[in-house]
Amino acid sequence: MSHNERDDSDLIAAFVARKDEAAFRALYRRYTPRLYAIALRLCGGRSADAEDVLQETWIRAARLMHGYRGESSLRTWLTGIALHCIQEMRRRSGREEPLAPPQEPVHAGAPSIDIDRCLARLPEGYRAVLTLHELEGHTHEEIGEMLGIEPGTSKSQLSRARAAMRALLEGGRA
């Protein structure tokens, strides 16, 4: 059986017990595209920042993997680590993107590019809950755990994020 066909628990066991590089690479290749998409959106489309986040995420995950007990899915666990890395990066850089209406029509080009452009203009908290809930399908309980907030807070943040998103989209149509 190739590493690509083995399930997560086998690969984690091989990595933890034997520091198996092939097992680690299989996990990396399985989850990185999803994690990178999240990181890129939460970093406002800055690919260099998203790659730094990914690198730090995997390094921390490797250090902590022996303690992973499978209470949440590996994807959720890794996403939580990535979110912490993003928060730390923001704290270090003091970077904060303001909420500002887009200057060009947002529906003029490919839909995915337009919506990503609008996402990048949202405040970070809104962007996070919108990405995690609407795109990643996480529950408010999971989001609350990952972001260190109450599920109710996640819910209200999402409501405000949707309104802000709609305002941006409609502003672009004007």
Binding site: R18, K19, D20, E21, A22, F24, R25, Y28, R29, T32, P33, R34, Y36, A37, L40, S47, A50, E51, L54, Q55, W58, I59, A62, R63, P111, S112, D114, I115, D116, E134, L135, E136, L158, S159, R160, R162, A163, R166, L169
Partner: protein
């Protein structure tokens, strides 16, 4: 007034969200960056079946050197000719037999080349021209023992040269294989 509640998406908005890619790929170099860092921290030992590039390069170099050494031309060794004569017992055989014999000799020639002892080899046509002092012109023929082919090889000792000549497959045709050292100290 917007008839929609903030929590509701329009069909168009839902469609746009659904169309967003859930997976994106970073630069391929990121994987090796991560793996290098983990190796540095001692969190990865390296796969049992992934050979480091420098080890693979060293192995290739070692094998290449060995092959070259085994096949190296013996440029300082004396030269010997191995001459293939159609002596009285020689049976040319059918065209197919001759083709088979040619192929056998070609394979033997290739083997000598791989051993690094072959200087040159060539087949010769059965008929030629004989030149003598007492005739007005050349006479068509090939002499008492027509020469059918020749090999020029290098060997460190006469014994080594004899061993090479003894292996020549031309003998199976009934012909003679004659070994002679090249004169003049070559």
């Amino acid at each position: 007034m917007n008839p929609l509640e903030p929590d509701d998406w329009t069909d168009r908005e839902r469609e746009v969200f659904r169309a967003l890619p859930r997976e994106l790929n970073p630069l391929p170099t990121l994987e090796n960056r991560v793996v290098s860092e983990l190796r540095r921290e001692g969190l990865l030992r390296g796969s049992s079946f992934l050979i480091p590039w420098w080890a693979a390069a060293a192995a290739v170099l070692l094998v290449s050197s060995f092959v070259w050494w085994m096949r190296r031309p013996q440029i300082d060794a004396p030269q010997y000719s191995i001459l293939l004569y159609g002596s009285p017992g020689y049976a040319p055989g059918s065209s197919a037999d001759q083709q088979q014999r040619f192929e056998t000799l070609r394979v033997w020639s290739q083997k000598l080349d791989e051993q690094g002892v072959l200087v040159t080899s060539m087949p010769l046509e059965a008929k030629g021209s004989i030149f003598t002092n007492d005739s007005a012109g050349p006479v068509e023929g090939s002499g008492p023992w027509p020469l059918r082919g020749l090999f020029l090889v290098r060997a460190k000792t006469p014994e080594e040269a004899r061993a090479l000549a003894a292996e020549c497959p031309f003998r199976t045709s009934g012909g003679s294989v004659v070994l002679q050292a090249v004169g003049g100290g070559r």
